[in-house]
């Protein structure tokens, strides 16, 4: 499923669901069960994702959306406070705008 590059535009709810699916695949179902993933969930703090997990999450986005979304490039231009405060909602908005 996630090897097919999507051509239809997703709305923010659909993007949120997709991101939740990627997060679950990356960090494992049993760890996600203990979390309440929302638009406000911070990436590094609430989801406790480390750099390796963020890289594999980025790869899933790339595989799904293709070149139209440069998620890694977007992240690498952030400063520390932006990274600390990065939440799922910001990512969903970014993807929605890029589509």
């Amino acid at each position: 499923m996630d090897t097919i590059i999507s051509t239809t535009k997703l709305n923010s709810n659909e993007i949120f669901d997709l991101m939740t699916q990627f997060i679950t695949e990356v960090i494992g179902e049993e760890f996600v069960e203990e979390m309440d993933i929302t638009m406000e969930s911070s990436f590094t703090k609430d989801l406790e994702m480390d750099s390796i997990e963020i890289v594999s999450f980025s790869e899933k986005i790339k595989t799904h959306f293709g070149e139209q979304i440069d998620f890694t490039g977007w992240l690498s231009n952030m400063d520390l406070d932006q990274l600390i405060n990065l939440n799922l909602g910001t990512i969903v908005n970014y993807i929605e705008e890029c589509q």
Binding site: E30, F31, T44, K45, E48, M49, D50, I52, N77, L80
Partner: protein
């Protein structure tokens, strides 16, 4: 003979290798002192050396210093970017600021020939730069922890540069040069092969692990000798106090009554009762203990990493924060161990990993290859030789100029 001053942070993991090299320098007839901003028990200091704690010059900073030390307990709960902030902005830079007065006064009195600063103890190299004293840096961890931020994360690179330059300017050092580390010699206590660097700068000298610091703690050797099952050494190092109970509870859940002997380096009083196959001791003679072990579990503190691979043992690394993830990656690259991130640690995976490391010889063989690179790097003898050559060359330079 030369006078060497080691400038160290209030973290024992960083002090430890300098005590080992210092002991070797003293044995060669050099004068060696250490300076730090928290007291250090006299039993740790090699005979003939002296640890300077400039108490009077620290009075005005005590409150801030205690706050910084307490803040370290938050490290394990911090995310990667938060740890970067905690380390550089809330720890290394303020510690340098706190240190400068006492360090400067002592340097003026004792007039060392060489200042050796630990890599996170910026005051050492900064003071050496200001006073024109030759400086060497020691790096206990594989370098390149942050990666190439200049290219991969330009805003983070800029933040680092601004913090360090701001510190330098406070002490009257202007210009674009970063002077908190030696540009002439940096002793790194691992091997180039393990660090996985292709093309290090020529002043980076990979001398491998060093040993020989005083460590005279008692241990129940008799009980260990009686154990017949494979021996697993477990250490969380000297920091990370808050998560100690949770970490060791996982080990108990995984290995209570398993056909293993668990040697745990932690204060026994975190639990009322330990399983019979656990030998628990607050302080251990780690260097002597390690050769009797079969496998090691640790979070990635570099002294335990070095003790493990210098003995050719495989490791399960459970990275928590700081540079642990970088070390874990190096271990995976070398094939000498397995990694399970602490925050994703399942009891079943823990069991599986330990038996895999014990039963599959590929990990031990890879660990033995790392051992060879560590031994070839030269250790104490190489470090002393480099420091002596450096001091001699700088003395010649001083005469010529």
């Amino acid at each position: 003979m030369s006078k060497f001053l080691f400038v160290v942070p209030p973290f024992f993991g960083h002090i430890s290798p300098t005590l080992s090299i210092g002991a070797s320098l003293i044995a060669k007839g050099h004068e060696v002192k250490w300076l730090g901003i928290t007291p250090l028990a006299a039993t740790h200091v090699p005979e003939g050396g002296e640890y300077i704690y400039p108490e009077a010059d620290l009075v005005e900073y005590q409150e801030e210093l205690q706050k910084i030390l307490k803040r370290q307990d938050d490290g394990p709960a911090c995310s990667g970017p938060e740890v970067m902030k905690l380390a550089l902005e809330e720890t290394y830079v303020p510690i340098a600021r706190i240190m400068m007065k006492g360090l400067g006064n002592f340097v003026d009195t004792w007039q060392p020939d060489v200042i050796v600063n630990d890599c996170i103890t910026f005051a050492g190299a900064l003071c050496a730069h200001i006073k024109g004293i030759p400086c060497v840096t020691t790096t206990p961890v594989p370098p390149d922890v942050m990666g190439d931020t200049a290219n991969s994360a330009p805003k983070i690179f800029e933040w680092q540069e601004n913090l360090v330059k701001g510190l330098q300017q406070e002490f009257g050092v202007y210009g674009d040069d970063i002077v908190i580390h030696s540009r002439k010699m940096n002793l790194v206590f691992t091997s180039l092969e393990f660090a996985g660097l292709q093309d290090p700068m020529p002043h980076m000298k990979f001398v491998g692990p060093v040993k020989g610091r005083p460590n005279n703690v008692a241990f129940d050797w008799e009980r260990l000798e009686k154990a017949t099952t494979p021996k697993v050494f477990v250490s969380l190092g000297t920091l990370l106090v808050d998560i100690r109970a949770a970490f060791f509870q996982k080990l108990i859940d995984a290995f209570a009554d398993a056909p293993l002997t668990i040697v745990a380096a932690t204060s026994p009083d975190i639990f009322e009762k330990w399983p019979d196959n656990f030998i628990v001791s607050g302080f251990v003679p780690q260097a002597e203990l390690m050769p009797k072990m079969d496998v090691v579990i640790c979070h990635g503190g570099f002294n335990t990493v070095n003790d493990t691979f210098i003995n050719g043992l495989p490791m399960l690394i459970t990275p928590i924060a700081y540079d642990h993830f970088h070390t874990a990656k190096l271990i995976e690259n070398a094939g000498c161990g397995l990694k399970i991130r602490y925050k994703r640690l399942r009891i079943e995976d823990l069991k599986k990993a330990i038996f895999e490391l014990l039963e599959n010889p590929q990990y031990r063989n890879a660990a033995l290859r790392i051992k060879d690179t560590f031994l070839a790097a030269g250790g104490n003898d190489k470090a002393v030789q480099l420091l002596e050559e450096f001091a001699a060359a700088e003395q010649v330079m001083a005469v010529v100029n």
